[in-house]
Symmetry: C2
Subunit: 336 residues, 2 copies
DNA sequence: ATGAAAGCGCTAACAT
DNA sequence: ATGTTAGCGCTTTCAT
């Protein structure tokens, strides 16, 4: 079909082996020869066939990104960081949507991945998720972003601390009836959701309060879900004076619900989110921010290091510090 | 390393050719044989090596997505649509960030793509962008989302109309001094930005008005940029009573700027955006919405059709209808 | 309906 | 420093 390594070899008057070495910058090539080869390759507009070199070398030259969602802010932003980290290395980025219960894939992902990528950055999947587990078991290089674990490279914020920080902030403001908008009803303590909830509970109990189950609702980590959840909470007999939302997007929805009920965030009900979504600024949402792009970049770097160092590599674990950004959505309890 | 087609062949007592045929669902395989092969493959946990089959067949089994940004809402959402369209076909999704002036890539993208993907969905790049041009010239299957052109499959909204619609809405409300927040100072008329601006100008001139250059500012399609742009506009001697923002994200920034200046969108200055970003709802932003996920899905489908139909394929052009969603950010001019 | 065998275009020993 | 030569694991004629 197109120009092959043989054409370049012929044009440069060398063997294909020399072309291969010269073009990949390997040693044992006379500088003069290298230049001749490069020039020939350039002239012929030669590009090595990835399939061929992958087959021959056993390396795929690609990094897979495993993510449950691609459009949501947190995930898209992590992917942006990964893409940045990959911009200056000769690796392809294979995007794989996984574990989205709405859309099951064909065939097992672990299986397909094995021969398709040299490693994977996994976004927001717990360490003992089936896919992660079987990948790790197969010695497949993996790096997690959004959850921390000892045996695998992983970058995340301290979610328990995040929950505690947000809740404590509300407590400090004098709030005593603090609701919670979580993602889904699950008592899985390994997930970000589980940990943030644990932090929330811990802060409350430390303050001598008991979490009221009737003030917990679920928003599926979407804005519309957050809106519905807030409505649910508002229809309870005794409304809270503050609500901790496990993500900014849900908090935005909660804000919308408040507005629709003629209430003002920070005046009638205090709101705190998690993420540091760009819009939290415009909407004056108090939030616990995390450096999402950096996290994607760091996880990718850890993965690349792990791949080049081999299985002996010590996994990198990095707990990224979060920061509470106080805005007008959280104000002192009016009280009485 | 792992189990190959030969192992399966041995286990099933057939040749590798038969295994290949059986597993890919080709004809001329006895049903009984096929079952035996499938069962053997299953038992051995066999997965065909993509590099090998790609090399042998000449097809890459992957679709590239070319995008200038991965984290921004519009782009991430289009990618989500593409990912959805690819979920049920055996094609990999290769994500390639291009044309982001901040981060030049290594080597020419067109060149690398040729041997890496069977086709590409290109997001928001004009038809005569270098990359698109050279791809098309090489007969490489391409499908555009975000711009329309006759010779290539393309899905987009009518951007001129979009600009006109938004501006006309403001005119209908009685506004006469209508500012513009665009992306960047460029008079390229092929881009979405150029066309929306043209629609804006057209609506104004049709109404007998002359666009005032001092009421145009640039926000780089980001929220912070939109904020700065709005500040610029506000510091002009004669402020407008309304501003048309070429994207919702910039409009959010503009809202923030207004708030910071003690002004209320829709009361002091009317605002209209473009996109239908989920947050436009919470923020009560009047906007021209486009079905972004669908557009990604449609473009992908068009690409796949084009690939299977061969070069004879008639390109699909689809101009997606937009819809003006009126919210409280646009109110009648106070007037006098 | 199935098998044999020749590649696909590279890389990686191994020679020289 | 460079060339020779076996594959890598599949697909695809061409036979049978």
């Amino acid at each position: 079909m197109s120009v092959t390594i043989r054409d370049v070899a012929a044009a440069a008057g060398v063997s294909t082996a020399t072309v291969s070495r010269a073009l990949r910058g390997l040693a044992y090539v006379d500088e003069e020869t290298r230049l001749r080869v490069i020039s020939a390759a350039h002239q012929l507009d030669y590009v090595a066939s990835p399939s061929a070199s992958r087959l021959a070398s056993g390396r795929t030259g690609t990094i897979a990104v495993l993510t449950p969602y691609v459009g949501r802010w947190f995930f898209a932003t992590v992917i942006e960081g990964i893409s940045q980290a990959l911009a200056n290395v000769p690796l392809d980025l294979l995007l794989v949507e996984v574990g989205n219960p709405d859309r099951p894939a064909i065939g097992s992902i672990e299986q397909r991945l094995r021969s398709r990528a040299d490693g994977a950055v996994v976004i927001a999947l717990p360490e003992d998720h089936d896919v992660v587990d079987s990948l790790v078991e197969q010695q497949f290089p993996v790096s997690l972003v959004g959850s921390l674990t000892e045996r695998i490279s992983s970058i995340a914020i301290d979610d328990i601390d995040t929950g505690r920080l947000a809740t404590q902030h509300l407590l400090n403001l004098g709030h005593r009836e603090i609701g919670l908008i979580s993602g889904s009803p699950s008592d899985d303590t390994r997930t970000a959701q589980g940990k943030r909830t644990a932090g929330y509970v811990s802060a409350l109990t430390t303050a001598g309060l008991t979490p009221r189950p009737d003030l917990t609702a679920f928003g599926d980590f979407t804005q519309h879900g957050g809106e519905r959840a807030m409505v649910e909470i508002l229809t309870q007999p005794r409304s809270p004076t503050a609500v901790f939302c496990l993500s900014d997007e849900m908090a935005f929805g909660a804000m919308a619900a408040l507005h629709r009920h003629g209430l003002t965030p920070g005046v009638d009900i205090a709101l705190v989110g998690v993420d540091g979504h760009p819009q939290s600024d415009v909407l004056n949402l108090t939030t616990v921010t995390q450096p999402v792009v950096d996290m994607g970049r760091l996880a990718t770097q850890a993965l690349l290091d792990g791949i080049s160092a081999g299985p002996a590599h010590q996994p990198v674990q990095k707990s990224i510090p979060v920061e509470l950004v106080v805005r007008s959505s959280s104000a002192p309890a009016k009280n009485g």
